[in-house]
C-alpha cells in the first residue's frame, strides 16, 4: 500500500503544468523558459475549444415555447403542471411540484405529500424491497449531480466531455443542454440541440463509427448522426434518433459495445434494469434487473469488451461478463462506488468509494483462452493507494473521479471539490507487467482560481498520452504526457 503521506507534498505555489517529459512534470519557471510557449505549439494538434460562461443560457424548462422568444411570459403553475403531465405523465407532474420553481407557490403539506408519493412511485417502479435514500431526492437534477463524473455538474459550464476513440475530435455537453462537437482541423462546430436533450449526464461516441454519438439525457437517449464532412453547424432533425423506455429515466449512463456492434447499453439511476438497444432497429432488451440496489449509476466496459462494471447507489457493485451476463457482486463496502477504471486488458479494476481516500484494486482471471467467458474476480479488493491527509475532514469525499490511459501507463485522479487538493490532479505511473505497481508522478496544476471539473485521456495517442482537463471557467487544457508506451 502506498500512502500519499509518503509522497512529496503538492506544491504550494500554483504553476500551470505544461506536460510530462523525461519522466517529470514540466511547470514553466525561470529555468525552463523554452517551455513557455509549449502549450501554444502543441495545441495545434488538438481541437481548440473554449466555452464562455456568458454564452450559455439555460433553457427555461419543459414548458418552453416559441412564444417565449418574443414576449416576456411567465407561465402559471397550472400550465407548468399540465405541460409536465402531458409530457411525462404522473412522474413529470410530481417532479414539477417538487422542483424549486414550484415549491414557493404550494403549501408545505401538499409538497410533502407529493414528495412522498414520488418516492413511493420510484420505489414501486424500481421493483426493489429496500427504500434507498437517493429515492427521496426531490429534484432529478440533484440526483444526476450526485452521480456525475463532473465535480460540479450543476454549475459547471461543461458537463461532460467525450473524445472519439480514433478521430481527433470530441463532444462537449454544456450547461445549456447543447452538445458541441470540436474538430482539430475544422473550425466548424456542430451544435446539437433537441427538446428532449435536457440535463445531459453522459455522452459517448460509438466505436468503429465516425459519426454516431449517444447522449444520455434526463428522459431519453438521443443518437445523433453527425456527418464529419457536413458544412452545416446545426444537424437537421432527421439526424437524431430518440430511444426511450418506460420507467427508465433519468438515464445515468450510456455505453456502446466496445466491438462496434450496433448495441447501446443504458442504465438509469432510479431503475435497477440495464437495457441494451439495437440502435438501428430501435429495439430494447432488458438484460438485467440488479436487485438490492435501487438503480444503476454507471456502466463501464473493460477495453476488451468482455466485462462490464455496473455501479449502484448502494454499497455494492457488480461486474458482468458479456457472453451470458452472469455476474459477481462485491458488497459490504464502506460507501457507494464513486470512481472506477479498467486497465487496458480488462484484468485490473481500480475503484474508490465515496468518503474513502483509498484506491482499491480487483484482479480478474483471463478467460480468453477458454470458450466460456467468466468474471473470475478476486474475492477481496486490495488497497493500492491511500490518499488520506491530516487536513481532510472525516466525512468529506476525497476522490471524485479517476481515469486510466489506454496503454495502462498513467492514472489521473481528480479530487473532490471539497478536498483541499481540489485544484490539482494527481498523476500516477502504473505498470501491470510483471506485477501491478503504481507510483506518484506528481500533481498537475491548473489555472489560477479555477477548479478542474472533468478529466479525460485522449485516446489513440501515439507518443504517450494526453490528459484533457475541463475547468470551472469553461477552459479546456491539454497536458501531453510523453513517455514510452508499454507494449499492449
Amino acid at each position: 500500500i502506498h500512502s500519499s503521506v509518503l509522497f512529496s507534498p503538492p506544491p504550494t505555489q500554483s504553476n500551470i503544468t505544461l506536460c510530462e517529459l523525461n519522466g517529470e512534470l514540466i511547470n514553466p519557471n525561470e529555468s525552463n523558459m523554452s517551455f513557455r510557449n509549449f502549450d501554444e505549439t502543441d495545441s495545434f494538434y488538438y481541437p481548440d475549444a473554449k466555452i464562455t460562461v456568458d454564452s450559455l443560457k439555460k433553457s427555461l424548462g419543459k414548458n418552453e415555447t416559441a412564444q417565449l422568444a418574443f414576449l416576456e411570459h411567465s407561465q402559471t403553475l397550472k400550465c407548468r403542471l399540465q405541460t409536465a403531465y402531458n409530457g411525462h405523465g404522473i412522474y413529470g407532474a410530481l417532479n414539477e411540484i417538487n422542483s424549486s420553481a414550484s415549491s414557493e407557490a404550494l403549501p408545505m403539506l401538499f409538497r410533502s405529500v407529493c414528495q412522498n408519493l414520488l418516492s413511493a412511485l420510484r420505489w414501486v417502479g424500481g421493483m426493489q424491497l429496500p427504500m434507498f435514500p437517493h429515492l427521496n431526492l426531490s429534484d432529478e437534477t440533484s440526483l444526476i449531480a450526485s452521480i456525475s463524473q463532473n465535480n460540479d455538474w450543476i454549475d459547471s459550464p461543461i458537463r461532460f466531455i467525450s473524445w472519439h476513440c480514433k478521430a481527433n475530435k470530441f463532444a462537449l455537453a454544456l450547461k445549456d443542454d447543447t452538445v458541441k462537437v470540436y474538430y482539430h482541423n475544422n473550425d466548424l462546430v456542430p451544435t446539437l440541440k433537441h427538446k428532449l436533450q435536457r440535463n445531459v449526464s453522459d455522452v459517448q461516441w460509438k466505436p468503429f463509427a465516425a459519426s454516431l454519438l449517444a447522449v444520455a439525457a434526463q428522459t431519453a437517449v438521443l443518437i445523433w448522426t453527425i456527418d464529419p464532412c457536413s458544412l452545416s453547424s446545426r444537424p437537421y432533425s432527421g439526424s437524431v434518433q430518440v430511444l426511450s423506455f418506460r420507467n427508465h429515466s433519468p438515464v445515468s449512463s450510456v455505453a456502446w459495445n466496445p466491438h462496434g456492434y450496433d448495441q447501446l447499453f443504458t442504465s438509469c439511476v432510479l431503475s435497477s434494469a440495464i437495457l441494451v438497444w439495437n440502435v438501428g432497429l430501435k429495439k430494447p432488451q432488458v438484460i438485467q434487473h440488479i436487485s438490492r440496489c435501487a438503480g444503476v449509476t454507471r456502466l463501464l466496459f473493460s477495453p476488451d469488451g468482455e466485462k462490464v462494471l455496473a455501479s449502484t447507489p448502494s454499497s455494492s457493485f457488480r461486474v458482468f461478463e458479456t457472453s451470458m451476463w452472469s455476474n459477481e457482486r462485491w458488497s459490504q463496502l464502506s460507501g457507494r462506488l464513486q470512481a472506477a477504471c479498467w486497465n487496458y486488458d480488462g484484468r485490473i479494476l481500480l475503484f474508490s468509494l465515496l468518503s474513502d481516500p483509498r484506491i482499491y484494486s480487483l484482479t480478474f482471471g483471463n478467460s480468453k483462452s477458454s470458450d466460456q467467458l467468466t468474471v473470475d474476480g478476486s474475492k477481496h479488493a486490495t488497497v493500492v493507494i491511500d490518499l488520506s491527509s491530516d487536513e481532510q475532514g472525516d466525512q468529506s469525499n476525497v476522490i471524485h473521479s479517476m481515469i486510466w490511459d489506454e496503454s495502462g501507463s498513467r492514472l489521473a485522479v481528480m479530487f473532490d471539490k471539497h478536498d483541499f487538493r481540489s485544484a490539482r490532479i494527481a498523476l500516477f505511473a502504473t505498470s501491470s507487467n510483471p506485477v501491478f505497481s503504481i507510483t506518484l508522478k506528481g500533481y498537475i496544476e491548473g489555472r489560477n482560481g479555477c477548479l478542474p471539473q472533468l478529466i479525460a485521456f485522449k485516446p489513440n495517442c501515439s507518443t504517450g498520452a494526453c490528459l484533457t482537463i475541463c475547468y470551472s471557467d469553461g477552459n479546456i487544457t491539454y497536458v501531453p504526457l510523453y513517455f514510452k508506451r508499454s507494449q499492449i
Binding site: 465516425a210 464529419p228 462496434g260 438501428g280 429495439k283 432488458v286 451470458m324 470458450d371
Partner: protein, 654 residues
C-alpha cells in the same frame, strides 16, 4: 424441414423444455394471481384469509395444475404459428388469401378453444356466480337456465384467445425475435415479466371494451343459441345492461382479470418458446467423422437449410468470430481433410456470406430499377394519353422523337438472325416500335409484335441506335417492365424467321391471354387487389436482415482478427472481395435504399429500421477493417469509386 438433423434432434428437446418451463413459471405466478382473481371489494376484510383458505384446498391445486398444463399447450401452437422471418404479401389479394388460409383459421380456433377451456377452469377455482354453467331459472324454478355470467366469461376467454392470435399474427409478433444479447432463461423471465404483465392488461382492456359493446348489441343472439344447444332455458334478464351499471362494472373487472391472466399465460409461453428457439446452438467447427458433416457449421450456413437453422448458424458464426480466438483459429487453419480439397473454413464461410450480401445488393438495385421504371411508365402513359388525344384532334400523324426510339425495347432483344441478313449494310428493325400510340404498352397489339413487321433496314444506322439503346437501357429504360411481365413480354417479341411457322399460334394465344388479363386488370377492383404494394415488396428485401447483419459482423471480425491470428494468410488472399462487397452494399444502400414518397406506413418504418441496422453494421464493419489494416489497404484492388470511399473510411470521414 423435419428432415433436418437440428430440427429433428435438438428442437424436440428445446420445445419440450419450453413446455416444462412454461408449466413451472405459469403455475408459480398463478398462485399469486389467485389472490387478485378471488378478491372482491365487498369482502375485502377477509380477502387474505379467504386466499389462504383457498390455498389449502386440494381442488384449487388440481385446477392450477390443469391450467398450467393447458398453458403448456400454447407451446405446441407456437410451433405451428411461429415464423423465422416474415414476408409481407405483395398484393392485397395475397393478403386476403393469407388471412383466410386454412392454417390460420384452424390456429385461431385452437387458440379460442384453448383459452375458453382455461377460462372455464379459472371460473371453477372459487365458488362464485361464474363457477356453474346452469342455474335455476327465476321465473320457472322447475327448469334450469344457462348461467349468463359463466357463459359470458367463457365466451370472453375464447374471444380473447382468438383475437389475440389474429392481432399478433397481423403485427407479425409470431416472428421469432432473436435477442440482442444472449441471456439466461430465468433472467430473461425475471427481466421481462413486468413488461409482459403491462402488455397483457393493456391488450385485455382493449379487447374488453369491444367485447362489451358487441355483446350489448348482439350478445343475446349467441346466448340464446348456446342455451338451445345446451338444452337449457333462456336466461332471465340481461347482465350487460345500461340499467345495471354496477353489475357491468363488476363483470368488467372479472373479465379484465381473467383476460389478463389468459394473455399472460400466452405471453409467458411465447417468451419461453422464443428463448429456446433462438438460443445459440454450438455447431461443430470440424469433425473427423464423415457422418457428422451435416452438423458442421459451414454445412448449416447454406441457403438450402431451413430458415431457423440458417439463422442459428449465422448467429453462432458471428459470436464465434467476435469472441472466441480458439474457434477463429479453426476457421483460419487449412483443413487436412482431403474431401474439401484443403479448403480452409474461411473460404467456405466467405463464399456463403458474400453470396448473401451480394444477393441483397443485387435485389436492392433491381427493386430500385423496377420502381423507377414504374414511375417513368406512369408518366409515360399519362403523356402518351395526352399526346394521342391531341393527335386525334389535329388529325396528323405524329413524328417519333428520339426518346421514343430509345424506348423501343426491340433494340435490346434483337433476333440474331437479323444480323445474318444478306445485305452487308442491312439489318432488321421492329416497325411495331414506331407505333407511338402503343409506346407505353407494347403488349396491346399482338399483330404489331408479329414477325411480319420486321423489315430490313440499313445496318449502320441500326447499330448506332442499338449502341445508344443498349447504353440507355443499361441505365434506365423508360418503359416499365415489372418483374412478372418480363418473361411474358419476351415471349411476344419478334421471333426468328425459322421458328415462325411453329410458334406463331402459341404466341398469338399467349398474346390474347395477355391482352385478356391486361383488360381484366383495368377494372378498379381487380387492379386494387392485384397491384403490387411497393412498400411491402421493398420491405421483403430486408426480411433476412438478421442473417445479413451477422454475415457482415462475422466477415469483418474475422478479417480484423486475421492480422494477428491468421498464420497462413488465407484471409489476406481474399480480403479485397470482402471490402468490395461491403462497399458495394453501402453504396447501394445510400443510392438505392431510399424510400419512395408513396411508402408511409408501419411497414415502411420497420423496413427503414432494418435497413438502418444493416447500414450501421456495414459501416462499423468497414471501420473495423480499415482501423486494423489502415493504409495497407491502398494496395487492395478496388474500383475508383470504392477507393475514394475506402480512403474516407481510413480518414474517419465517413
Amino acid at each position: 424441414m423435419a428432415k433436418n438433423w437440428l430440427i429433428s434432434q435438438e428442437f424436440i428437446w428445446r420445445n419440450a423444455a419450453a413446455a416444462v418451463w412454461t408449466w413451472v413459471v405459469n403455475s408459480s405466478w398463478l398462485l399469486v394471481a389467485l389472490f387478485v382473481w378471488t378478491f372482491t371489494p365487498s369482502n375485502h376484510i377477509y380477502a387474505v384469509y379467504d386466499y389462504f383458505l383457498l390455498l389449502f384446498s386440494f381442488r384449487v391445486w388440481v385446477l392450477i395444475f390443469c391450467i398450467s398444463c393447458l398453458s403448456s399447450l400454447f407451446v405446441k401452437l407456437h410451433m405451428q404459428s411461429s415464423q423465422v422471418t416474415f414476408k409481407l404479401p405483395t398484393t392485397r389479394f395475397q393478403s386476403l388469401v393469407a388471412m383466410f388460409s386454412f392454417k390460420r383459421i384452424f390456429l385461431t380456433m385452437c387458440h379460442g378453444v384453448l383459452c375458453g377451456v382455461i377460462t372455464a377452469f379459472l371460473a371453477g377455482i372459487s365458488e362464485s356466480k361464474f363457477s356453474t354453467v346452469y342455474i335455476q331459472c327465476k321465473n320457472t324454478p322447475e327448469y334450469v337456465c344457462l348461467n349468463e355470467s359463466c357463459y359470458i366469461l367463457i365466451l370472453f376467454g375464447s374471444v380473447v384467445g382468438a383475437a389475440n392470435f389474429i392481432s399478433r399474427s397481423n403485427k407479425h409478433l409470431y416472428c421469432l425475435n432473436f435477442p440482442i444479447v444472449q441471456q439466461a432463461r430465468f433472467l430473461s423471465i425475471k427481466c421481462n415479466f413486468q413488461q409482459m404483465l403491462i402488455q397483457s392488461y393493456k391488450t385485455c382492456a382493449k379487447f374488453l371494451q369491444y367485447f362489451l359493446i358487441f355483446y350489448y348489441l348482439i350478445g343475446y343472439l349467441t346466448r340464446e343459441f348456446v342455451a338451445d344447444l345446451l338444452r337449457a332455458g333462456p336466461c332471465d334478464g340481461h347482465i350487460v345492461s345500461t340499467l345495471n351499471i354496477m353489475g357491468v362494472i363488476s363483470l368488467a373487472w372479472t373479465l379484465w382479470v381473467s383476460g389478463t391472466i389468459l394473455l399472460l399465460l400466452h405471453n409467458v409461453s411465447w417468451h419461453l418458446f422464443n428463448i429456446y428457439a433462438t438460443k445459440m446452438f454450438p455447431f461443430r467447427m470440424d469433425s473427423v467423422f464423415p457422418e457428422d458433416k451435416p452438423k458442421i457449421l459451414t454445412s448449416n450456413l447454406t441457403s438450402d437449410q431451413p430458415p431457423l437453422v440458417q439463422h442459428l448458424a449465422f448467429q453462432y458464426l458471428s459470436s464465434v468470430a467476435s469472441s472466441s480466438s480458439i474457434k477463429r483459429k479453426q476457421i483460419y487453419v487449412i483443413s487436412h481433410d482431403t474431401g474439401s480439397a484443403n479448403q480452409p473454413k474461411w473460404n467456405l464461410i466467405l463464399d456463403e456470406c458474400l453470396a448473401r450480401l451480394r444477393k441483397l445488393t443485387t435485389s436492392i438495385k433491381d427493386h430500385k430499377q423496377i420502381a423507377l421504371r414504374m414511375e417513368q411508365n406512369k408518366v409515360k402513359t399519362k403523356s402518351s394519353k395526352s399526346s394521342s388525344s391531341s393527335q386525334s384532334s389535329s388529325g396528323q400523324s405524329p413524328a417519333p422523337d428520339s426518346s421514343q426510339f430509345m424506348s423501343v425495347s426491340a433494340f435490346n432483344h434483337r433476333p440474331k438472325s437479323c444480323d445474318t441478313l444478306d445485305g452487308v449494310n442491312m439489318s432488321c428493325f421492329d416497325v411495331s416500335s414506331l407505333n407511338t400510340t402503343n409506346a407505353g404498352n407494347p403488349l396491346n397489339s399482338p399483330n404489331l409484335n408479329g414477325s411480319m413487321l420486321t423489315v430490313p433496314t440499313p445496318k449502320l444506322w441500326t447499330k448506332q441506335i442499338r449502341k445508344r439503346a443498349a447504353l440507355h437501357s443499361s441505365v434506365s429504360s423508360p418503359i416499365y417492365i415489372s418483374a412478372k411481365n418480363i418473361q411474358s413480354y419476351s415471349l411476344t417479341r419478334i421471333l426468328p424467321v425459322s421458328q415462325v411457322p411453329y410458334k406463331t399460334l402459341n404466341s398469338q394465344i399467349q398474346a390474347l391471354l395477355q391482352r385478356g388479363s391486361a383488360a381484366i386488370k383495368k377494372f378498379p377492383l381487380v387492379s386494387f387487389l392485384f397491384n403490387e404494394i411497393p412498400s411491402h415488396s421493398m420491405a421483403n428485401l430486408y426480411s433476412e436482415h438478421n442473417i445479413y447483419r451477422w454475415a457482415i459482423r462475422s466477415l469483418s471480425s474475422l478479417s480484423a482478427y486475421s492480422l494477428h491470428e491468421d498464420d497462413y494468410g488465407v484471409v489476406q488472399r481474399r480480403l479485397h472481395e470482402v471490402i468490395n462487397c461491403l462497399l458495394d452494399l453501402l453504396v447501394t444502400l445510400d443510392k438505392h435504399g431510399k424510400v419512395l414518397p408513396i411508402c408511409t406506413s408501419d411497414t415502411t418504418n420497420l423496413m427503414l429500421r432494418q435497413q438502418q441496422s444493416i447500414k450501421n453494421e456495414a459501416r462499423s464493419a468497414m471501420y473495423r477493417i480499415t482501423d486494423t489494416f489502415s493504409t495497407q489497404l491502398e494496395s487492395i484492388p478496388v474500383d475508383a469509386e470504392f477507393r475514394r470511399k475506402l480512403r474516407s473510411f481510413v480518414e474517419h470521414q465517413e
